[in-house]
Symmetry: C2
């Protein structure tokens, strides 16, 4: 090893090390401004970590929530979830527990969907499909047509007349080479959101979209789609990745094959649902608010466990932990479980615009809506000053395994608050497994790990408290 | 927001931010020594990340390996695994592919174990058990005795005569409040390793040890146990956490109950097995070696997927990726799949002590033996200079999601190399789920996520190459 050291020695390395160590020293010594601050929060961090990991309460909240099935906005399950969570907040002794109304669109899936390839050459091959959220249904007999496979809207446009009368099959996979799976999702989601409008413009009869997930499996992934004003509405349907691969191969073997798709989804009249709200009131500035948010609605397939039952469970447990250690922050810590993130975001908008917000100042809002996986970091908006402020407390989160605090935004539900200056923040967990479960039948309780979920609850509690106590 | 900014403004925050930014600037500019170094490795990093994530080859290696079942040292499966991996290395065109012998102890489980509580008051309740590795068997009729439950060796000692003729039930759970699950494991493992010896000293007739896992489940977790010279050998048996909880409750309801335990494990004569070795030879200093290591043997329950099939798959894929991008480092990159980590560590010792090591200098060894979960960091031994050297390349790993490079050690297999000055390094993935699978029937292919596994392979490839090229 000695010769190795001699070999590898570079003064530059030591310079970097020294600079890094001095930086650490600086960081460690800097809370000397509020010298009492660091020990106080460290004690809190230790207490709630100990309590949280020992009790694993977030998972028990998630159990209650997932037991009732998917919580599509406007459904009976969503209404039940509102009541379960309101009751939970009451039982835990949260303050000012109440519901705030929001009008939600209502879309129902109807009967289980049917999809099959019908080929003179290959026979009949079933493919696993589901209607996309917001889609019109096919006729009662289904839509049956030849298929045009494309990878992009540009390709579709170039093919011109060939699209007429066909089912347009959007088969561009999510890019597996991105480490950030949300980036891969973002680049592929146009097919799901706008595929039907693009297909209709090309005179297609339906849009059939490859599931937004990595890997090959049987489970179609639903999600929101949008029609365009002035463009005919045609059915928008998702096919599992396995179904997509089978269909793509079958098209190479028999380009004349026909696909039959049958759905019976429908849009019903809107109705009133609710955001569920509970607090720990601030001792000194109760009208200054730090909001912990997640969304209570989910897709109907699966149980909405990761998306976003996990976030709801973390918000509830974060407030519970703080309540139980009997620390009251100077400002109000408010938990908001938003209704209707998946289907229009009305809960978030109505919360921000409510008459009840008058006189309230939302300093910061932290959302958890990226699944209940191992927490890796916090995104912090509001520019460099806010980031620097939060990074001051990084030492509190490191022992909890949190790796970083970076610039970035919050989530859909809290975003309408940004207009009035609220600083957006978001819990960021490991994203590698998220799209295995996202919007499909696999998003069930068993897919969430109790310890990973709880770590997120503890992180939310701690950041929430520190912000509510110290301000930002 | 303006008033918020005004409120939260602290000059200290800006000082920290400024210092941090200047540090980043320093870090970014520092590879100016070897100005060509940074872009070169960045290009490599991009290439192998792209290739690795796209192909997900590590998972296909793991499929081959897990298909044959658990690979207990000395078993037919372990022998098959040696051949499969040797062939894999040959097929991938690794250089100097060969086997190096190591004598391994051989222990067999025998018939499926039987465990039950027999109580006049409560009736007969089955509990799920398994023999611990290295244990003697019970008699053919099993051991049947009253039970003494303890949480520690100290407690057992204090109870004195009460242990005589009893089954000693070690029921101290892993501490769930530790974020680092290996710490919790370390603090509870004495029960499994030395429980039988402690029980025998107290004149107990068998040791029954609570599974080393969090949560309550049906699956007993096996693992190594050791007898002590001069102390009678009594059966060492593991009970699932659910079985342990049932038994503990039953003892409160009926302290006179009897437990029956039946095992038929046996120790057979040792035999010769092999470490499997393959390389990319160094272009300039082929006798200077960077070793990538994992262990090929596993426990017999499950498929040894996380422990340590994952590590083997990562070592293979790391070399494959580097081979395919056609970069040959200055020093030799050697993959070693060690035999017999679980049951005595003979593979690691025999590798280090082999005649074939003469003339070789092992600069560094990197082990992956903590499961195929999301990689979080690298542990780096060898003191501050080595750490600083590796931290220079941290920028290469950040885009891959790796969070940190910290002081720390490697793994069991490579540890015998430390005596000759080799710097120990270890890939450290998320540990939250590890003990759900560790040493039990649940450690199967499906428990490993292809993307998380692959990220580890890419990290290993990159660190291996950089060390082999730049030295340390």
């Amino acid at each position: 090893m000695m010769s190795i050291l001699g070999n590898g020695f570079k003064p530059k390395s030591f310079f970097i090390l020294a600079s890094f160590l001095s930086f650490l020293l600086l960081l460690a010594s800097s809370p000397a401004t509020g010298q009492t601050e660091k020990p106080r929060y460290q004690d809190l961090a230790d207490k709630i970590a100990q309590k949280g990991m020992n009790e694993g309460y977030a998972y028990s909240v998630l159990q209650k929530l997932t037991r009732i099935g998917g919580r599509l906005a406007g459904s009976a399950q969503a209404a039940a979830a509102v009541e379960i969570m309101r009751q939970e907040m009451e039982d835990l002794g949260f303050e000012n527990v109440h519901l705030e109304p929001t009008i939600v669109g209502r879309w129902v899936r109807g009967e289980p969907e049917e999809g099959r390839i019908v080929s003179a050459k290959l026979g009949t091959i079933p493919i696993s499909i589901c209607a996309l959220g917001g889609s019109i249904s096919t006729s009662a007999d289904g839509v049956s047509a030849q298929v045009l496979e494309v990878k992009s809207f540009e390709e579709l446009q170039k093919l011109g007349q060939k699209a007429r009368g066909r089912i347009i099959f959007f088969n561009r996979p999510m890019n597996p080479t991105y480490v950030d799976t949300f980036r891969a999702y973002g680049e592929a989601a146009d097919q799901r959101v706008s595929g039907a409008a693009a297909a209709a413009k090309a005179e297609g009869v339906a849009a059939l979209v490859r599931s937004l997930t990595f890997g090959e499996n049987e489970f179609p992934h639903t999600g929101m789609m949008r029609y365009e004003p002035g463009v005919p509405k045609i059915p928008a349907i998702c096919v599992s990745t396995k179904g997509a691969n089978i269909l793509s191969q079958a098209l190479r073997d028999d380009p004349d094959l026909v696909v039959l798709l049958k759905t019976s989804c429908a849009t019903l009249s809107p109705l009133t649902s609710y955001n569920v709200i509970g607090e720990i009131r601030g001792s000194e500035k109760p009208d200054e608010i730090i909001l912990l948010g997640a969304h209570l609605d989910s897709w109907d397939l699966g149980e909405g466990a990761h998306d976003d039952g996990a976030g709801c469970a973390q918000v509830i447990d974060a407030l519970r932990l703080l309540k139980q250690v009997e620390l009251r922050p100077k400002r109000t810590l408010r938990g908001v479980l938003f209704m209707d993130e998946e289907f229009g975001g009305t809960g978030g908008r109505d919360y921000a615009n409510s008459e009840q917000r008058k006189g309230e100042i939302h300093l910061a809002a932290i959302e958890s809506d990226r699944g209940g996986f191992l927490p890796l970091g916090f995104n912090v908006g509001g520019g460099e000053a806010a980031l620097a402020k939060v990074k001051q407390w990084e030492y509190l989160f490191k022992p909890l395994g949190l790796c970083w605090i970076k610039p970035g935004g919050g989530g859909v539900d809290i975003s309408p608050l940004a207009a009035s200056g609220t600083i957006m923040m978001g819990l960021v967990p490991d994203s590698q497994r998220y799209f295995d479960y996202h919007h499909c039948s696999q998003d069930v309780l068993q897919a969430v790990h109790p310890r990973e979920l709880e770590l997120g609850a503890i992180d939310m509690a701690l950041l929430g408290y520190v912000l509510a106590d110290a301000g930002i």
